[in-house]
Structure formats: structure tokens, C-alpha cells
């Protein structure tokens, strides 16, 4: 493998990198708010809603993400024509699967964060006259987020690596291009380039979260 091979391979892998970053960004941006919403539902006064939400979280955490992806991409189109059109594109299936799955994990992380908040915080808010919304947004959420931050870091790094799973539903991500390049060049180098790409992404991610933890500590 010569320099021009390395450059072409890296360029090809960077196409996959774009897909990975998109999946990563969409999942984080959608799964975190959805996860927090699920957390609120698990604290609902209406018991059936709690059961339903807890059941959903349990299902998502107790079954393989790969199976969930297969179910959406290969399974759902068999159910009806509507799903056939809805889940036609592999990348759409990947995003739907990841958001649904990661929302359940974020719900658990946020639940832990909420449990760590002292009852006195709610009481202080009440006697100061803050309403429920103000209490949640101004006092509870920032503290919950700070407590949950190390777990969110962990989850984000796992997410970057988990994107490799969509290889199995034929989304052209990094692994896909690496495998093609390995067959073409007959060398191990494309896999090594893939290693380096993941390492760089997760190192940057870790540095970002370290900075965020420092900045938000109190």
C-alpha cells in the first residue's frame, strides 16, 4: 500500500465518516429530549402511563440494538405498504432505531440525575413562589444535567462506536468503506485507518466533555 492508496482509502472512509457524524448528531439531538420526556412520563401521576413508559424503556434496554434495527429495516416493510414506504431508506431506519433505543438509555440516566436532587431544592422553589415550569427549567434541569454529565459522556462515546452496527442494514458508514478497500488493496491498512478515525473522534469527544464538566462544575 503506497501513499496514493492511503489518500484514496482515507477519502473513501471520510464519506462513511460523514454518515456516522450525521447519525451521531441526529441521535444525540433527538434522543436526549425524548429521553427526558420519557423520564417525566415515568414520574406521571397516571399509573398506566408509568407502566407503559417503564415497559418501553425495559424493552429497549433488554434487547439488542442490532435486532431492533433489523426489525425496523427488514421486518416493518413486511407489515404493510405504509411501513414499506416509511422504512424504505436504510439511513432513515438507522436514525429511527438509534433515537428510539438511545432515548431509553438517556431516560435512565436522567432518572438517576433527578433522584440525586435534594428535596430541599423543590421546597425552596415552592416557598419562593416559583411555578412548576420555572422550578424545572431554572433549578432542576441544570442540576440534573450536571449530575448526569459523566454518564452522558460515556453514552456518547458508546454511540460513536455503535454506529458501526448500521453496517448490517447496508448503510455505507466507515466500516463499509474500510471493508471494500481491504478487498480492493488486499492489505490491512484500511482497517487501521478506520481505527484511527474512531480514535480521533472519541478523543475529541472526550476532550469536549472534559471541558464541559469543568465549565459546569459548581
Amino acid at each position: 500500500m503506497n501513499w496514493s492508496d492511503i489518500v484514496t482509502t482515507t477519502a473513501a472512509l471520510m464519506q462513511g465518516f460523514g454518515v456516522v457524524m450525521m447519525l451521531f448528531a441526529v441521535t444525540l439531538a433527538a434522543a436526549m429530549p425524548l429521553g427526558f420526556f420519557l423520564t417525566l412520563l415515568t414520574r406521571s401521576r397516571f399509573a398506566p402511563l408509568r407502566w407503559l413508559t417503564n415497559g418501553y424503556i425495559y424493552l429497549m434496554r433488554a434487547t439488542p440494538l442490532m435486532l431492533q434495527l433489523f426489525f425496523i429495516y427488514f421486518g416493518m416493510p413486511l407489515v404493510s405498504d405504509f411501513f414499506k414506504r416509511l422504512f424504505f431508506s436504510a439511513i432513515v431506519c438507522a436514525m429511527v432505531g438509534f433515537v428510539l433505543n438511545y432515548a431509553a438509555y438517556f431516560a435512565e440516566i436522567f432518572r438517576g440525575g433527578l433522584l440525586s436532587i435534594d428535596k430541599g431544592q423543590y421546597e425552596a422553589c415552592q416557598v419562593l413562589g416559583l411555578n412548576k415550569f420555572q422550578t424545572t427549567v431554572r433549578v432542576i434541569l441544570p442540576q440534573m444535567f450536571r449530575v448526569a454529565l459523566p454518564s452522558i459522556t460515556n453514552e456518547s462515546i458508546t454511540l460513536v462506536k455503535d454506529t458501526a452496527l448500521v453496517f448490517a442494514i447496508s448503510v455505507p458508514e466507515i466500516l463499509h468503506y474500510a471493508k471494500v478497500a481491504v478487498s480492493r488493496t488486499g492489505t490491512v491498512f484500511p482497517y487501521m485507518i478506520a481505527f484511527v478515525i474512531y480514535l480521533i473522534v472519541n478523543t475529541l469527544l472526550q476532550l469536549f466533555f472534559n471541558w464541559l464538566e469543568k465549565k459546569t462544575s459548581y
Partner: protein, 251 residues
């Protein structure tokens, strides 16, 4: 003028009767010390006044408005309106740890009153000066001592301009030196004619600052009167016993 009237308050947690029959009244400018043994229901009584606990029976009237009448609560908006006339200071301070001292004071004020940042800052600076912490305006609560935290908590409660201040064992988490700085701020408030209801174990504060003592025991007010009457000439056997065991090391 009567600011608070409490009649026949009852409250139990599961099988334990915490308040059996509590009645008293608070006049404008009163500084009332609520004393008594642990488990007497002092804190519960205070928390009922500001709706942190729900009573099972009895009547609470604040400035002529009924918070709860014979065990039935007024509607939500009225309850909120009534409790907003009171400020509360907790044993564990309950400052917002993620906000600076400044924001601990200004955030609730701006949110609740819809005030501008400039007005909030001006008031916060004057109140934080009043509790002697002018230099600490932009520090985080975690860098403060317990006594400083409690003084910030007092300033935060004062931001909302309450007519009545409730103190729930404000110095119980502090060592004697820090206790003194908090008590000094409270004495200052009393001198400014703030109406105060203070649950405390600080007998010297009760004796020197309060104009009225409520001695609580077994979920009721066993005795009430001026500090002179309650400390020197207790009528109730339980009051006498309480001072018999506690005056030696606390008074």
C-alpha cells in the same frame, strides 16, 4: 394587628400524631420563638403555615385570608397568594448550588415578580450588604461557610419582600461561631420590626430577642407567654422539665 391565626391544627404522618391541637396567633412585629423537645412538632407546624405540609384538620388564616378552613384548603391560586406573604429559611439553607450568590437572589425575584435585571441587581446588592456579604456577590455557594450560606438564604427570602419570615432551625447545622453571625442578622431583622416565627434551640436568642415564646410538646402548645413568664415561671410541668434538663448547657 393579627397577621396569622392558627386554630385547632391537626396533622399526622401515618399512625403518628405530630400535631394534635395547635392554636396560636401572631401579631404584626412579633418575634416568636418556638421551642420544645425534638419530635414536638415544631418544624411540622411551621411547614404547615407555608403549605410545605398539608394539615388534616384546623384553620390557618394569614392577614385575614383563609389558607385552610376547618381542614379544607382554599383553591390553588389563593393558597399561592397567601404563602407568598411569607418567606422561609431552612436548616439546610437550600441555596441553588448551580447559581452564583447574585443569581440565587435575582433569579426567583425576576421569575416571580417579572422584574428587570437592573432592579433585581440593585435590590440584591442592598440586601446582600445588609447581611454583611457584599464581597461575595459573584461567588458560588459551595465556596461559602455555613453561616454565610444561611445569610444568603435570608437575603434571598427577603428579596420577595415578605410580611412574615419563618425560620426552621436556622442555626442547627452551624457551629457556635457561625451561629452567632446568623443570629446577628436575625436580631437586625427583628430590630427592623420584621414579623418572625423562629423554631430554635438557641435559648439565649429566644430569651433576649423574642417577645413571645411558644413551648411545644407532644404535638400541642404546652405553654405560651413572654420569655420572662416561660423561662422564669413555667406553669406546665413539661416546660419546667425541659428547662431542668436543658438550661444547664444551653441557656
Amino acid at each position: 394587628m393579627e397577621l396569622i391565626q392558627v386554630k385547632g391544627l391537626k396533622k399526622s404522618f401515618q399512625d403518628t400524631d405530630v400535631l394534635t391541637n395547635v392554636s396560636f396567633s401572631v401579631n404584626k412585629g412579633d418575634v416568636i420563638a418556638v421551642i420544645g423537645p425534638s419530635g414536638a412538632g415544631k418544624s411540622t407546624m411551621l411547614r404547615c403555615l407555608i403549605n410545605l405540609e398539608q394539615v388534616d384538620g384546623g384553620t390557618i388564616t394569614v392577614e385575614g385570608e383563609t389558607l385552610v378552613g376547618d381542614g379544607t384548603y382554599s383553591e390553588h391560586v389563593k393558597v399561592k397568594n397567601i404563602t407568598s406573604k411569607m418567606g422561609m429559611v431552612f436548616q439546610s439553607f437550600n441555596l441553588f448550588p448551580h447559581l452564583s450568590v447574585r443569581k440565587n437572589l435575582t433569579m426567583p425575584f425576576m421569575q416571580v415578580k417579572g422584574a428587570s435585571k437592573e432592579d433585581a441587581d440593585r435590590l440584591a446588592e442592598s440586601l446582600i450588604g445588609k447581611v454583611g456579604l457584599s464581597g461575595k456577590m459573584d461567588t458560588m455557594p459551595s465556596t461559602l461557610s455555613g453561616g454565610q450560606k444561611q445569610r444568603v438564604a435570608i437575603a434571598r427570602a427577603l428579596m420577595l419582600n415578605p410580611d412574615i419570615m419563618l425560620f426552621d432551625e436556622p442555626t442547627s447545622a452551624l457551629d457556635p461561631q457561625l451561629t452567632a453571625e446568623v443570629l446577628n442578622v436575625m436580631k437586625q431583622l427583628a430590630a427592623d420590626h420584621m414579623t418572625m416565627l423562629v423554631v430554635t434551640h438557641e435559648m439565649s436568642f429566644a430569651r433576649d430577642v423574642a417577645n413571645k415564646i411558644l413551648f411545644m410538646c407532644d404535638g400541642e402548645i404546652a405553654e405560651e407567654g413572654t420569655p420572662e413568664e416561660v423561662f422564669r415561671h413555667p406553669k406546665d410541668r413539661r416546660t419546667a422539665e425541659f428547662f431542668g434538663t436543658s438550661s444547664g448547657n444551653r441557656a
